[in-house]
Subunit: 353 residues, 2 copies
Amino acid sequence: MKDFGSDKKNVIQANLDAQKIAFAPIMFQAAKSLRNLGILEYLFRNNKATVKTIASALNLSIYGVKVLLEAGLSLELVYLKNNEFLLTKTGYFILRDKMTNINMDFTQDVNYMAMNHLEKSIVNGKPEGLKELGDWDTVYVGLSELPGKSKKSWFDFDHYYSDYTFPEVMPILFKDHPKSFLDVGGNTGKFSMQCAAYDPNVKITILDLPGQVNVARKNIAKAGFEDRISAIEINLLDKTIPFPKGFDIIWMSQFIDCFSLEEISGLFKRAYESMNVDASFYILETFWDLQKFQASTYSLHATSLYFTTVANGNSQMYHSQDILSVIENTGFVVDELHEMIGMSHTLIKCKKK
Amino acid sequence: MKDFGSDKKNVIQANLDAQKIAFAPIMFQAAKSLRNLGILEYLFRNNKATVKTIASALNLSIYGVKVLLEAGLSLELVYLKNNEFLLTKTGYFILRDKMTNINMDFTQDVNYMAMNHLEKSIVNGKPEGLKELGDWDTVYVGLSELPGKSKKSWFDFDHYYSDYTFPEVMPILFKDHPKSFLDVGGNTGKFSMQCAAYDPNVKITILDLPGQVNVARKNIAKAGFEDRISAIEINLLDKTIPFPKGFDIIWMSQFIDCFSLEEISGLFKRAYESMNVDASFYILETFWDLQKFQASTYSLHATSLYFTTVANGNSQMYHSQDILSVIENTGFVVDELHEMIGMSHTLIKCKKK
């Protein structure tokens, strides 16, 4: 692994950062309240305002607006000039940036209560926080039954980080005119349908759990792709069930982060065994060490702990080296590696050795 | 109010800061687990180590140690060099700094669950998070019955920020050889006993709620100060009950942050009415605008939200101007203002106009 980070901060800065961590959940809730109660929106629309003006306009107490905006000063969401508050760029991100809002809602609605069980999840090797959402062994079994806002926040988060990559990968995947795809972990069929729309002749088979396959089939029928996209229910964790053979491309998009390294090894082996020598195996994934922006690495490190505490207790957003080792050990060679698909994805093309 | 903050960050930094906020509760739990599971301690004692070595030494899974340490990289608690992790200064603060640990435990044990009700507390003007700890109107009524770790964490937090200031204020308070103190909100008697120990002739009267007075009386008896320290039960919020008269000094230490500005006005009025022209009124308080370090301001802004959501729903850590206005409106003049008592306190001496 490449070196990462340093200890170059001075003590004053280190102390400030430590206090930011120590009060983090409190200040998170402050930022969320500033957003949800319309205070940031008011500043955005009116450029600047006093506590009193905002309280009156939003029908909130002066006290309430005051403590939130003062927290907003330390959060650097707002600043104070001539007794009036103004929005900062960070405040604008919290107010309007789609990704930031999706991350924040995912943290609150899926993770806030659950994350209180992180330590226990680490010790027990189980997603001990999941019980805050429902009585399942993994979140994947319960996706369609997630309570309240958590369902929307989960799917918004999941889709946001994959949808925007598909247009960019299509020309790469279709360069050699593949006739067939095996979409392993195809979920609700989004990728398969984009493939079918991109190339009028390609045929795709989705492999996934029964719950996901049912949703996928409905979506496929609705889009009129039944003749070219089929879906097979399979327990992907059962190493004794081979993958169907003969596909030009095997595809795993934002999929392996749902599995432990040992499970990934089993999936890659079955992919390998199902492939002809000419077939290609593509992996689209976000690796925390291959990010252009520190913000992306930060988000991935936090997301790993969602897997620990909520999803399954044993997977994560990986370091590229973790996965390249499994690729090599399976008998594949990396044929191409495209960094920076979309904002934070890497596309790896493997061939049989 | 003086201007505070600015909008000078670039967009990259603003985005990073926004993601840090968006994932804050998750990363807080990561930091706490790194501390509680002994991982930071192991790095402190051994200088550096691989994931595997730490996992083996602490009897934790490689996976668990790995996801936590990777989160630790983004939290800048650790850094990675030649495949080994090392502790940073920030990591040391989270591991060993007393204040940081007191803040962190206060956030977790008193505030984590409660703070989920911040927004509702603002809207309703009530500490809606308090029900996570017990069925009381304010936290002060329930202090002696706080459940589990929350009691220790509450008192550790409360005492940490006042105890260390007392030695520094004694020479100032006793400069003119006062014969008597009225210790308003004297709590468990810590300040009064230090006064009694500092000057063998001074007499002190504590005013506080019955619960606190009972504890104070026990402490006073144990210390053998019954002849010079007495305690009176009083509902300090009842404006119709005057303060006892004739004291040389009226003292309010870290007390007014438990009250709304309107309530403080009532307290100051009763102090005023009880004072002779020669008497002095001292206020020892932490004001968020008079801090030397940004870390202190940050902590105070976060602590305000504890008052909003847990303590009483209407008080906060104030801006100095908030309180100076009440002082003036009551008819006092500021005779002396000592900034930076201890690390973050201000001592204000008032006289009747």
